[in-house]
């Protein structure tokens, strides 16, 4: 160990001490740099149109892809479908997540709290494909719901491959994110405030609307923006539960790359989506500060 220390001391004299944190950060900065390089690649590719005679991207650069992406009816339909879907998913997810987070934070029972936490984390770690697969089994034409309906003589319903199925899958996917973003904001509200409101004669509905909701608003806004971004840009749920008829923007991008092989147009759509996503993320930062990752620990 002494020898190692000696080598380290010669290579890195104490007066270089100030550079240590930057040196520690360097690998992470380089690794994330791959994403930045990827974005540069997307931007470059978005400026090249598909040459229909050779099926290669053009050598010259043009904004033609942007014009197509913004004017073609197909992409407008897909964009509207994704945006509307994301908004519906966000509202419903928040409505469902609020009582869950509230009960989880306020319950006196440690066991119940643990159960609610485990129910949140398990699906998060199971992954989207397996969860969507579970819904295929439940909702499919020969799935559990339709078999059960058949027993009481109801003709099979088409529960899959439609818009509500995709939205339902998305809500299920987003619930853990929403609850986990709401819970800390909920914890920060002193319970005495609610007791005070109630002892002053407010019923629980008024206490919720006039005391809890305003105080938990930053958490709601944050959770809402995260859910909005994630569901707007999701690929798996529209692909699996929508069965190709309910494409969101991410599916349209995938198709441009792997079906029509129009890399330029696909890149253009991807870059536009990244821009929208960044604006939403920027809003989160503006509201919460970039310290989402930060902590108030002691530093030197």
């Amino acid at each position: 160990m002494d020898a190692v220390e000696a080598v380290a001391a010669t290579l890195w004299p104490a007066r270089f001490g100030k550079a240590i944190p930057y040196l520690l950060l360097l690998p992470a900065i380089l690794l994330v740099g791959l994403l930045v390089l990827g974005l540069v690649e997307i931007a470059d590719s978005s400026l090249r149109t598909l040459d229909t005679s050779t099926f290669l991207p053009s050598d010259y650069r043009t904004l033609a892809n942007y014009e197509r992406a913004l004017t073609e009816g197909l992409f407008r339909t897909v964009a509207t479908r994704s945006l509307l879907g994301a908004v519906i998913v966000t509202v419903l997810t928040l409505i469902l997540a609020f009582p869950y987070a509230y009960l989880m934070v306020r319950t006196r029972s440690a066991g119940l709290r643990k159960l609610l936490l485990i129910a949140l984390f398990l699906p998060f770690f199971i992954g989207q494909v397996v969860r969507a697969y579970g819904w295929l089994i439940v909702l499919g034409n020969q799935g559990m719901v339709n078999e059960a309906l058949g027993l009481i003589g109801v003709a099979p319903l088409r529960l899959l491959y439609n818009y509500p199925a995709v939205l339902f899958g998305l809500i299920q996917y987003m619930l853990p994110f929403a609850v986990l973003m709401l819970a800390p904001a909920m914890t920060a509200i002193p319970e005495e405030l609610e007791s005070a409101a109630q002892s002053l004669g407010a019923n629980w509905v008024r206490t919720m609307f006039h005391v809890v909701l305003p105080l938990v608003k930053p958490g709601l806004v944050g959770a809402g923006l995260v859910v909005l971004t994630l569901s707007l840009t999701d690929f798996a749920m529209p692909a699996i539960l929508g069965g190709g008829s309910q494409d969101f923007i991410a599916n349209a991008i995938y198709d441009q790359f792997f079906r029509t092989s129009d890399q330029g147009l696909g890149s253009t759509l991807a870059l536009l989506l990244v821009a929208v996503g960044s604006i939403l993320a920027g809003l989160v930062f503006m509201i919460f500060g970039a310290g989402t990752l930060a902590s108030r620990g002691a530093r030197r």
Partner: protein, 266 residues
């Protein structure tokens, strides 16, 4: 806190619905994997392990699972040093340009996954790296890196800086201080962060889908490709791998840091 009855009814109704929505797919996949029938049916046609014995011989599924394990291992090996050093730097040192650096390090979360995936696909294509598996591991490390940094930061900020000063004061040279004081203190964060990275890479779907070709599909991609054609219970049996690994992850996370840490207000 005692809730009025009406509030209790409303809240509990919603919470039970949410619990059902969250757990039904998992329970159903588990149940389907033990079915004796050929088509997934309700009510189930009796219990059997036949789908497990069927997948035992399905070498393509096991190869896909092996590839997923490889990707997750590469991802974790890359993420541990990179995320640990960055986490320590951000938690323990005063860094100039801290806010821009944090925003930059959060890029993997703020860029939509489809954007990150397409970007890495184009980049790796340019570098002639497509068609191999290890770049998929690197990609998984990039897109989930903030989890690793966050886990390490959370435990590093709990370490008293005085401890490190004390070690130095007792004559410990910088590297010894790092290995005997700093590193053990952040270990819980490193382990839980590594666990997160491993599990998330194991079931990463979209980025895998974009970066692999038909010869080297990972297990989530294989399942995705299969459920688009026909739904048979053998996929349920293989999906149990993901459920089991998720259970392990949740238990380990609970032991290491306690799930309740996610309820703390910042």
């Amino acid at each position: 806190m005692t809730m009025p009855l009406s509030q209790r009814v409303v809240f509990w109704t919603i919470v039970i619905c949410v619990l059902a929505i969250l757990s039904i797919p998992t329970i159903v996949v588990l149940g389907a994997s033990f079915t004796a029938g050929n088509i997934i049916a309700f009510p189930p046609e009796g219990l059997s392990l036949k789908w497990y014995s069927k997948i035992a011989g399905a070498s393509d599924l096991w190869r896909a699972f092996g590839r997923s394990l490889y990707v997750a291992t590469v991802c974790t090996i890359v993420a541990i040093p990179v995320g640990t050093l960055a986490g320590i730097a951000l938690a323990k040192y005063r860094v100039r340009f801290e806010t821009p650096i944090q925003v930059y390090l959060l890029l993997p979360f703020t860029i939509p996954l489809i954007g990150s995936g397409i970007g890495l696909m184009l980049l790796f294509g340019e570098l002639r790296l497509l068609g191999q598996l290890w770049p998929v591991g690197i990609a998984c490390a990039v897109i989930n890196l903030p989890f690793m940094v966050w886990a390490v930061m959370a435990s590093a900020s709990g370490l008293e800086p005085d401890l490190e000063l004390a070690a130095a004061n007792c004559g410990a040279p910088p590297l010894s201080t790092f290995f005997h004081v700093t590193l053990p203190a952040v270990m819980p964060g490193v382990i839980s962060g590594a666990l997160l990275m491993f599990i998330l890479a194991l079931n990463e779907f979209l980025v895998s889908l974009l970066l692999v070709d038909a010869r080297i599909v990972t297990l989530p991609v294989q399942i995705y490709n299969s459920i688009r054609s026909i739904i048979t219970p053998d996929l349920a049996a293989i999906s149990v791998i993901f459920i089991a690994s998720a259970v392990v992850a949740v238990v380990a996370l609970d032991r290491l840091v306690g799930l309740e840490i996610f309820l703390k207000s910042k």
